[in-house]
Each structure stands twice: as structure tokens, then as C-alpha cells.
Symmetry: D2
Subunit: 392 residues, 4 copies
């Protein structure tokens, strides 16, 4: 079994999630496609980098991401930084012929994403965008049912990603609210997860009609050290600055295969925490998923007898996707860690077997094209065609 | 206590619902605003009329609705017919100075609705449109919370009405699928309930952006006698004819007060039966309701402590709207009957106290203006302003 | 269609429930087994009787229940009084050859119930005990699945009836807390509903092992007029008197067919309103029901494929028991009214067709024998055999 | 930060769970109480041991657990074997002055557990029994509410642990169905988790009244290699042998503080996967938890206003127990891994800070005394007092 050396950039919340995935992946999926070795961690903040090495189990650390690019022993670059430096790092990594796992959203703009995709393509590297929620076994089970034709032809769908961690107007102006660092707000941060999930399940998006809003128009500037989400609690008395990205977005989608849907993402939904849901109606059945109860998929089959038809609540386990590697009984518990372990497994498998990974940079680019169309539609108040992927 | 004589037109499913409401209203709400007396029932089908009188407890029956208009003892006309004859009957009743309870949607078009509204206004009668779902105590509790400011300023909302009783392509082409009888399909039949509910809760709609579809484009012609929904099962072997109305519609809404929302109505959602839901996000809380579990309202208050905040599942009972008249313990059970009893109570109360009823024909007209805008937007694929109510 | 004249005794909450059932039954189930005619209502309180006649639609009223017994035109006696007068009235009615619908629990003791049963038997009348919850269509669907063998042989079960309307120690000492009027507390008032339901679904109880408690040992004496539950709010400052019945009881059950179960009833479960639930495990499936969400039955079939097995949430409607008479679409709404309408239908049907009704006085007697065993076991802290029904 | 060397015995499902916990603990809780070092893994099957070392990241492996006892560099022994060898290994480890983490149930009998407890006590080591479910943040939140008095004095409770992975009579006779290896069946394997949880939340058990059953009385002998649960699918055609332990048990509990409850554990509940639930009623509120939806705790406070009281669904996150170490947003996802990481954290913290761990071997012994009383009661059909812990 090959060992693969990893360099990880950014020592926050995502570094933790990826680090435990590297540790856990071979424990869960054996024989593992590779044994990940945590070689080097980088953070611009030296203390964060040093501490990150210690707690996440990296052999060394640095404050300069170029040290990872320039380390010939490193085969995989893992980008867990804010969005504004994804492109620069990824293109450098691609040119250095390193495989890349990049946090979502892939880029600040579709143009950036295109450049990243083409760099990866030219250098024949394997890439993955960390849309981990689609890897929840219940979501994969939905995909399996759809592929089997168990719910027939898809008619329409509804997706949501609702949160409330920043619904308080006095929660701080972290980088996630500053356009020059994040590119977009609720759309990029959470909306793209649902876009990825439904594009995966339903098919390519053709056109969108969108509306965005910024309900909380200014927030207190951060003071002190940020927590792992990039927050620090400046509190109500700190000076306030304008938010220049959306904190809510909602859009209609027309898919190339004729399916229609709506997607809604907001950070102002009190009581919703990580409320990633979809409902899909097909000619022969329906699917419903809510990540807050992620061990479950609900499915209704039209073919069930009239006196016993209804949504079935299926708890995923050994009989379902990835079941061989996860826990031996349904509902032992799929957590965030497990979604990241699956992501890691799939990524290393695509490297080991030299197969197409998914979602690759190409998919991340496709999502950026959709985001671009959404932002444009929100301005023009009109339907906007999603741009085509350009292969060169 | 005054007795009020009623003439009811149409002896199907709705006649049953209204008849039990008339019987039950004084039992539930005492002192009752009036004692309804079931004077005469009319159906074009004589057998249905005769049987209707017997089972629903009317003193007499007829096959001609003019007999009701011409009966001076009748003070209230109750219109439970298909949509295409609402206007003619209602206008005649108004001219005869009878109060009117009319099934929803009010009319085939906004123009018809306007004529009905103006006829009622000119003749100073009391009117009500039978959007009974908004009368569910849990919906009224939502209204109470909103009016108290308990969830702050409303930001956005999402409403649905999903069904599957006609998701089978071999279910029959009843009048609900024929434009000349019903006016519109899923929009008028079910979508308007949600429009009424959210207009009631959130405020006036300003503009809409819609999409409609007809997924099942033809259905078997009915043979034999219809059931109470107007269906008769011709089955797969019967000849098929085109459906000329929508069976799915979805639209974005901008309200005059700045709130934004989406509403979705479909008859093709396998596993959803009478899935009328709304979720409303305010600056200080959220509300969620699902009619399939109608004894409950879910509410989250932002002011609850960080360590104990979450949606509360409130079962409505004596401490909630209409609680004094309903059952003495929450969750004894609100059914369809109870929603209709409340409707009847409010209608007779507005007559007895000579107050504005709600939803009146004016509201029904407002809903028709919204429907008109939706259908127009579905064609133009553009935002459409909702027309203004014309007072003469 | 025959008319059947009814005399109803007791003008409180149950009078309302039964009165709307009599009005609604022919509207729902047609052709109806009979047309109930509300002849006379009786209450010891004259105002309640007079008002009851008016609002519930009875032709006349009285303060003396003997007036009903002595009225030869009355064919059915409906007993809605507190428990302590059930026996006297019922035995008199039986001797007068009137059919009887009696509220639950049937009697104060098994001895009383036996006398009532034998009086009914000797006079060949039809009887019914108003355990209406078992008539919920979802409960009847559970019965259908069991009878079809769809969940195999029943292994074990768990039933609950949890409430909180008297969990406040300052809620008043109504008759439901006084042994000489009610016989027993939570056991008789609510526990017997679950006993009836599970005896109906699972089979005869053979032995029980019980524990009872009185958590709130005294309550404020009532002052002023009682509400429909028999409550009046004396409040915290009123003088307090001892409660001499259980407000919680819990017991193990061994059935004659080998099934085992537990049942729990309490009035001290904050947040539970009318939480009547059961879960039944069989060799080939499971059932779960919660009356608070009474339109639904959950069922799991072991035979479903490993990758798609899970509880199905079936909303009852036209394809399920009593569906022909209820509403034409599932989840339009089963409320308390609908359960009472079904009860009325079954009762009049048994009279019209001269068939055995269920639950009859014989069943009510069986439940009293179980209650007796429970109260005995709670004292002896030992298993107690349920007494046998004595046929003379 | 100290490194602590670990020797782990048994390379199955639990080895995986513990190994990822050791890797993840410092990533989640920082500064960590210690950095666990995976020194040696032992399994009687050499291939399992060798492979275990590789995939779980141990430095070395062995087939003889004495190698761990005899290795002076190893400070912690982690026992993940079947139950029948817990005692021998633990006593040896204690004598070698190594701290011990032992899988549950602690022992085959109370006598064994006592010997283990005394050995640990005499040698002043830190011990923990791996009742990980009580470490779910939502369970800890329940404990916090109880300790704060938020639900008042506890009246009664109900606990369940329902599964169906062996409800099929053709599922194999693994060691979990053989008394000489497991000691007891559903009781020890799953029932003890609920006993631990409710003893933790409610208080010491005083007496029990139990019933046990073995519904599936024989099962196919295993053939071939076992999976991580110790199963191998012999299938229906394999020879069958008797099951000599319970697969269902149910008992009443009286606590020393007066609280009463019931607990039910079964392996024959089709549709229930890992259905660990409790409901607790107090004088001022109620709690409900279901591990299948483990991110949530439901709590009802009696003090909430009459018009807004109901169960709150609280999703645990940063504002709740262990929130500082887990994920930064509620509902990102607590899985089995996270419960084990918390367990590891608490264990190493008790070592580092030299504080009492919980549940320690003393608690494990207490649970064995309860199990002993349960098994005795199931035979005598009588209440049985729980034995007292003997301190020497």
C-alpha cells in the first residue's frame, strides 16, 4: 500500500476536518487506496501553524505555502484557506504536478475557476472540490435510487441550506462577509453545497432566475483572535462596517433534462442550524433528505400498494453506499467526520486507480458558472443561461 | 339567538364539509352568533340533490339554484359548485341581498372576481371565501405571534401545497383538469390556499415570478358516476383527452412590505398528501407549519438562551386561538371538520356583528389578481406586478 | 332509512363530542345505518341541560335521567356522566330495553361492570363503550395489517398515554381526582384507552404487574362553575384537599397468546398533551402510532429489500379502513370529531344489522377486570392474574 | 504535552472506533490532556493483528495480550475483546499499574466486575468503561438541565434500546448469542448502555422487576471469517444451535431517590436500528432523546407561557457541553466517531488531572450488580434489590 504525502494549507476548522479524515480513512476503508501521511501544515499565523502541526499530527509546519509547492516529497496539496487564495495556490500546485483537494467554493469567480481547471487539466493531476455533503451515505443512496430508475423521471426538486449562526446582527464581520476575501456570501459558502448536490442528483443546470439579499447590512469589525470559523466576537460595541455580500439567495433552476427546481440559502433562519435539505419528485416516487437528520433518507415508491404507500425512512448502514467501510449497524452515527473520511477515500481512490474524481475542478468550475449566472440574474431580475464549460 | 336560513348549491365533498360545520358550529362556539338552519340544497343531478338533503339534513332540495335565490326565507347562499358557475350564482345572490359563503378559488378570472366583489359591495352583503386552511388554530397562532412581534420583521418565507392523488397518469380527467370549468389547475385548486395563507400572515403581494407545468398532459376521460371529488375511475383503458391546465406551479413573491418568498404547488409529489406547509423567517424568530400535522406549530424565538434555543413544537389547545370553542385539551384532534366549524363561526359572527369578514370576496379578488399575475409571468418568464384592486 | 331516537345524559365535553357525531354520521357514511334523532338531553344542572338542548340540537331537556328511561320513544341511551353513575343508569336503560352507548371507563369496579354487562345481555340490547381512540383509521389500519399477518406473530408492545393538563399542582381537584366519583385516576381515565386499544390489537391480557403513584397529593378545591372537563380554576390560594387516586400508572402485561408488553399512563408528562402511542414488534414487522399525529401509521415490513427497508409513514385516506366515509384525500384531517363519527357509525350499524358491537359492555367489563388486577398488583407488588369474565 | 502509549487488545469494530478516537482527540480538544500514541495492537488472529496495526496506525502488533502487559512503555491498556476475557486482562493490567479503558459491559458477572474494580482500586489506576452513548452532547445537555434543576424533581422515565440487525432468525450465532462468551444477551450488549445512561441522569437504582425472553431460540452456526461485529453469514442452510441468552429484556426500576422507570432492550424490533431513547418527566419539565437523531435534545419547560409551551428541539453545538471541542455549528454532525473522541478526551483528562473518571470500573461494577438483579428477577418474577457495591 502506497503512502502519499500531504501538504495542507490553512489551520482552521477545515484543517481539523481534513486531518481526521486522513487519519481515519484507512481505518474505515481497507484495503485503503493509500496511506495518507501528514507531511506539512501551513498557516500565515505562525502560532496557528505550529499548534496545527502538533494537534493535527503533521510532521512539520511553515507560514509560507510555497514551502509545500516546493517540497518534492509532497504529492497532494490540500487547500483549506479562505476563498481568495484558492486559485493562486491551486495553479502553482498544478504546475508542480501535485494532486489537489480544495475547499469549496472552488474560486472567487468563474474565470478563476476556469484557470484552475485548465491548469489541472494541462498538468494531468487529480483534483477534488470538498463538497463533502454529497458524500453523506443517504445522499448517495438517493443517487442510487435515481440511477436505478426507482423514482422514474425527475420532474422537480427543492433544495435548501438554512443556517442561523450569523442571524444575530451583532455577530462579527468575519472574512465570510467580505467580498474581496469570499467572493460571495451565503451563495458561495452554503448555496454551492446544494447546487453541487442537486447537480449531482438531478443533472446539469441550464438557466437560473435568482434573487439575493443582504438583510444584515453591517456588522461589528472583528477584534482579537478568530475562532476556527474565522470569527472573533467583537460584540455589539465594536465599530461596524458594511457587509458587501449576500446573506440570502434564492433561485429557480431549469435543468438541461427538463427538470425544474428551486434552491434557497440563507444565514438568517433562526432555528435552522445546518439545514441542508432536498425534496425530489419523480414520475414514480419521491425523495426527501435533511442533513440535520443525516442518517436517514426518506423515499416513497409509487408502486407500493395503495393501502401501504408512504415515505419510508431508511437509515443507512451496511446495505447502503459506502456501508462496507462505515459502521456495522445503521444509525450508529454518521457525523461530519464520516463525510470527510468518505471524501478522502474517494479522492485517494481516484488517484490510486487513475480514474476521474467527482466533484473535480471541472465540477467546481461548473458550480462557479452557475454562481455567476445567479449573481447576474439577481441584478438583471431575469432568467440567465448558465455559461458553458470551456475546455481551453 | 337568531336562526339563519341557508341554501347550499352543489352536493359533493364540500357540501358535506359545510353541512357538518353548520351542525357543529353552535356546539363548539357558544353562545353562537346564529343557529344555522339547513333550508335547501341544490344539485344539477337530482339524485345527488335528493340524497344530499337526506344525509346532510336539509329541509328541501332542488336541481335549480335559482330556487335558492328566489326563496326570500334564505339569508345565506353557500356555493360549493365547480368554479365556472361561482360568478353567476354569487352575483345573483348578491343582488338578492343574500350573504355568501363561496368555495375557493373565488372565480375563473380576476375580472369575474371583481364583478363578484363589486356586486357584494353594492348590495352590502357579507361574503366569505372558503380558504379554510388559514383557520387551522396553529395558523392563527402563527398570526398571533407575528402580530405580537414575537418573530420580529419578516424577511422571507416558503410555502408549499403538495399532493399526489392525481400523480398517477391514469387517474381521470375530472373537471379539475379542464380549463373551461376550473380556470386553472394546481394553481387555483391548491396554490391559492397557500397564497391566501401567506398573504394573511405576511402581507400584500407586490410582484410575482412564476413557472407552471403540465406534467401529465392527457388523462382518461371519466366514465360512470363521479365520486365526491368529481372523479370517476375510467382507468387506463378509457380514451384520453388533453389536460389544459397546470398540474404544477412555482413562483417567487415580492411583498409590499419587502418580504420575499417562494410558493410551490404540485399534484405530482408522490408521498405528499395534503402537504400545506410554510416556513417564515423573521429577524427575531422563525415559524414552521405542516397541515399534515396540523395540531402543531413550530416556533423558534431568537431571544431564548443560547443553550436552550430551538424550535418549540406547540400543540394548540385552550390557550390558543379559538381554543375556547374547540376541544379542552391540546391534540385531542383538529380535523378538517374543525377547520370548517371555525370558518362557519367566523362567517356568522361577521354577519351577526356586522363586521368585516376575512377572507371576504375582496380577499378572494386579491387572490385572483395574484393568480392572474402568476399565469402571465409563467408565459412571459418575467416578473409581473400584481394588479390593484379596483373599487368600482 | 330508520330514524333512531336518542336520549343523552350529561351536558359536558362528551355531550358535545357525541352530538356532533350524531349530526355528522349520515353525512359521512351513506347510506347510513340509521338517522340519529337527538330527542332529549339531561343534566342535573338545569342551565346546562337547557343550554345543551339548544346548542347540541336536542328536541327537549330534563334534569332527571329517569325521563329518558321512561320515554318509550327513545331507543338509545347515551351516558356521558361521571363514572359513578354509569352503572345505575345503564342497568335501568337495559331493563327498559334501550341500546346503550356509555362513556369510558365503563364502571367504577369490575363488579359494577359485570352487573352492567349481564343486564345488557339479559335484555338483548346493543351496547358500546366509547373507547373512541381505537377507531382512529390509523389504528384500524394497524389491526388490518396484523390480521393480514403482515407483521407476523406479535412478540411485544409498548403503549403510552401521557398528558400534562393537570401536571400543575395548582390545577383543581375536579371529580377526576376523587375516588368516589371516578373510581381510579390516570388508570381509568386514560390508561383504559390504551388497554382497550392493545387488547383490540394484540389479544387478551392474562396477567399484569403494576405500579401506581400519586405525585400530586393534594389539589385546590374547585370554586365556581366547572368547564367542560369538569374543571374550575380555584387557583393556588383555594383550600387544598387530598387526591385519593393515581395520577401515574405503569404495568407489564402478559397476553394469553404469549405477547408481552408495557403500558404507561401519566398526567404529569410536561409537553405531552394527548400522547397515546403504541409500538408493536412482530416477527415480520413493526407498527408505531402516535395519536398526536393521528393521520399517520408507521409500519416496517421485514420483507422489504435490505437497501430500502424502513418505517413507512402511511397517511390514512380512501384506501384505508373507513376511508369510504371519511375525506377523499389522506391528511385532509382526522380530528376528534371524526373518531366519534366512526364510533357512532359502528354503533348504529351493529343495531341495524343486529351484529355484535365492539367494544361492547363485555369488552368494557374485560377492561375493568384488567384495571382491578392492575390496582391489586400495585398494592401487592406482584404479578396478578386478570379475572375471567363471568357470563352469569 | 505528554505522550501516552497505548496497547489495544482486539482488532474488530471497537478497535476501529477507539483508534480514530485516539487520532482525533487532540485535533478536537486542544490543548489536549495528552497525545495518545498507538503503540501495540493485539489480536489472537495474526492476520487481524497485522492488518490492524497497518490500518489503525499502531507501531507494532502481537497475538498475545501479555505482550502489552509486559511492555513497560505502555501506560494505557484498551480492552476491545469479547466479554469473557475482560476480567483476566484488566486484572493483569491493573497489577501492572496501567490505566484501563474497557469495552462494555465490564464483565460477565458482578463478581468478576468486583474483582476488576478492586484490582484497579488497589493499584490506583484510572479506569473507564466505554459506555460512549452517554457522552453524546445531547445526553450531556440533558444532564446539565437536570443538574440546573430546569426540569425539577424527576418523577419517572422510560428508556429503550431497540435494534433489528439480528431480528432475522437466519442471522448467525455469533459470540453475542453464546452465554459463555458474552454473559448475557440484549441485556449486557445494549441494555447496559441505557442502564448507564439513566443511572447517570437520574440516580442510583434501588430495585428492579424484570422479564427476559429469547424469541429466536436457535441460529445458524457461523462459518467462514467473521466481520467486524463478530458475525459471519452462515445462512439459513448452516446447522443451527441453541441461543442461551436473552434477545429481549424489559424491567421496571425504582431509584433510591424515588424516581421510577422502565427500560426495554430488544434485538427484534424491525425498523429500529440503534434506537436508544429516553424520556424523563420532572415536576417542572420533560426531556426526550433519540440517539438515531443524536444531534438533538428535546426539552419542555413548564415555566414557558401557556401559549408557547412545547418541546424545544435543541441542536447541540458550541453553546452546549463539549461544544468548544466539537464542530463550530450545531448539526454539522455528531457521529459515532465524535462520541468516542469525547470518551477518549475524558479518559485522558482524568489521567492527566488525576481526577475520578466516569463511568469508571466502579460504575461498570454498579451496572453489573443491576444486571445481576435483572436476571434474577426475570427468574423469580419478583422485585429484586440491587446489590451494594463492596469496597473490599
Amino acid at each position: 500500500m502506497d503512502k502519499i504525502n500531504i501538504g495542507l494549507i490553512g489551520a482552521g476548522f477545515m484543517a481539523k476536518a481534513h486531518s481526521i479524515a486522513y487519519a481515519g480513512m484507512p481505518m474505515f476503508f481497507w484495503p485503503a487506496p493509500a496511506i495518507p501521511v501528514k507531511k506539512k501544515i501551513v498557516d500565515v499565523n505562525e502560532q496557528a501553524a505550529r499548534e496545527g502541526a502538533l494537534k493535527f499530527g503533521f510532521e512539520s509546519y511553515s507560514t509560507d505555502w510555497q514551502d509545500i509547492i516546493n517540497d518534492p516529497s509532497i504529492q497532494v496539496v490540500d487547500i483549506c484557506t479562505p476563498n481568495n487564495v484558492h486559485a493562486e495556490i491551486a495553479i502553482a500546485a498544478a504546475k508542480a504536478h501535485k494532486h489537489i483537494l480544495c475547499e469549496k467554493p472552488l474560486a472567487m469567480t468563474a474565470a478563476e475557476a476556469k484557470a484552475m481547471y485548465l491548469a489541472a487539466k494541462e498538468n494531468s493531476i487529480h483534483t477534488m472540490v470538498a463538497f463533502n455533503y454529497r458524500r453523506t451515505p443517504a445522499v448517495q443512496l438517493a443517487k442510487k435510487y435515481i440511477d436505478e430508475g426507482a423514482i422514474g423521471k425527475i420532474l422537480d426538486f427543492r433544495g435548501t441550506y438554512l443556517q442561523d449562526w450569523s442571524a444575530d446582527p451583532d455577530s462579527p464581520l468575519s472574512w465570510r462577509f467580505q467580498k474581496d476575501i469570499c467572493g460571495s456570501g451565503a451563495l458561495g459558502d452554503i448555496g454551492t453545497h446544494v447546487v453541487d448536490m442537486l447537480r449531482f442528483l438531478v443533472g446539469e443546470f441550464d438557466a437560473v432566475h435568482a434573487r439575493t439579499a443582504t438583510y444584515i447590512q453591517n456588522r461589528p469589525v472583528q477584534t482579537g483572535l478568530a475562532d476556527s470559523l474565522g470569527n472573533s466576537r467583537g460584540g455589539a460595541e465594536a465599530p461596524r462596517r458594511a457587509v458587501d455580500v449576500d446573506d440570502q439567495c434564492c433561485f429557480m433552476v431549469e435543468c438541461k433534462n427538463g427538470a425544474f427546481g428551486t434552491i434557497e440559502a440563507t444565514r438568517n433562519a433562526w432555528g435552522r442550524n445546518n439545514y441542508i435539505t432536498f425534496e425530489i419528485h419523480g414520475t414514480e416516487g419521491s425523495l426527501y433528505f435533511n442533513y440535520e437528520r443525516r442518517d436517514e433518507l426518506q423515499v416513497c415508491f409509487s408502486g407500493d400498494g395503495d393501502d401501504r404507500r408512504g415515505f419510508r425512512t431508511v437509515y443507512t448502514g451496511p446495505a447502503h453506499p459506502y456501508g462496507e467501510g462505515l459502521w456495522p449497524i445503521p444509525a450508529l452515527g454518521i457525523g461530519y467526520t464520516e463525510t470527510k473520511i468518505i471524501e478522502s477515500y474517494d479522492f485517494f481512490k481516484s488517484i490510486a486507480e487513475n480514474t476521474e474524481s467527482s466533484p473535480s475542478f471541472r465540477d467546481g468550475y461548473a458550480v462557479e458558472l452557475i454562481s455567476e449566472a445567479i449573481l447576474k440574474s439577481a441584478k438583471t431580475r431575469d432568467w440567465v443561461k448558465v455559461g458553458e464549460i470551456q475546455e481551453d
